[in-house]
Symmetry: C2
Subunit: 185 residues, 2 copies
């Protein structure tokens, strides 16, 4: 009796799962492209903020560029690494659409996705902390807000964060979806 139940269960899952798993695989592929666009846009937006913003105060002409702050350099590197990984991961993602029962590939992707999630979040929130400081400053530490001087620089670096945060949400979805797909095989 137990064997029959096992059998029916096995049949039911081979009957219905490939369809759902194919759907998950296609959504996985689309979300990866969304995340590539987000992280690449973030890296480029931040990385090209090396323009001269000529302000004259009493004595000095200021230039603001992203590499003035090491945190922003880390942000660009993290986003570039993650988007390179995402582009590479499109290959197994396509493979999973064709062979929706594959398990090992999905498990490997979940691991690398969670590492990428951590790397991307680290870059984005470190940059966010510095952007916040640039906007608000901190009286206790004697760090002054620099955004009233470098206005368009600040707008640019704030905007660059958006793509990364889209990427973070996408990675959480990708990990959850892959786990569902793996459980169904």
């Amino acid at each position: 009796m137990a064997k029959v139940v096992q059998l029916e269960h096995g049949e039911a899952s081979t009957g219905s799962s490939p369809g759902i798993n194919k759907g998950i695989s296609i959504l996985d592929f689309i979300l990866r492209i969304v995340a590539v666009i987000g992280t690449l846009a973030s890296a480029i937006a931040m990385g090209t903020t090396n323009e001269t913003l000529p302000f004259f105060t009493q004595f000095i002409q200021f230039r603001a560029q992203y590499s003035d702050l090491p945190t922003f350099t880390f942000f660009v590197i993290a986003n570039a690494i993650v988007s390179a990984y995402l582009i590479l991961s499109l290959v197994p993602s396509i493979f999973h659409i064709v062979r929706s029962g594959a398990r090992t590939g999905r498990i490997a992707l979940v691991f690398f996705d969670s590492v990428s999630l951590a790397l991307l979040t680290a870059g984005a929130s470190a940059a966010a902390a510095i952007v916040y400081l640039a906007h608000k400053g901190n009286a206790k530490a004697n760090w002054f807000a620099i955004c009233q001087q470098f206005n368009s620089f600040c707008e640019r670096i704030s905007g660059a964060l958006i793509g990364s945060f889209v990427g973070i949400v996408v990675f959480i979805l990708l990990i959850s979806m892959s786990t569902v797909a793996v459980s169904r095989r």
Copy 2:
């Protein structure tokens, strides 16, 4: 013939998987306790850094506490939320040791684990960015290093990061292990 293969496959997996899944579940439980200790220690180490550090410069007596910098407040909150979640997650973790075939619970844990991974990484790396700034300062933005003045404060806030980074590594392991367990059921 196909049905027989399906049947044998079903039998084989119910025969070998519970052992491995039980092992994964026990390791899952241990790792969660490690992460609870790490994140709680981080939250407490940072949160109790409100001691008066009396330095006299020419005119002012300084006090340094974590809540002077909003990023550190976020760090404490993020670590507190994640450790509370981890303590709650011990219940399903124990349940998975007993019933090692459970799937839905594991999938739910993977989702909440990846959200927690993102939250914890955000808190830790935002704090790390500010700690780095406190140590090194930034000449271009006119932000001065404060660690030569607030030496023990800086040591404390640097140390508080360690527990969080242990937690991040544990979460990546937990997500990968749960996915393997779900694929074996």
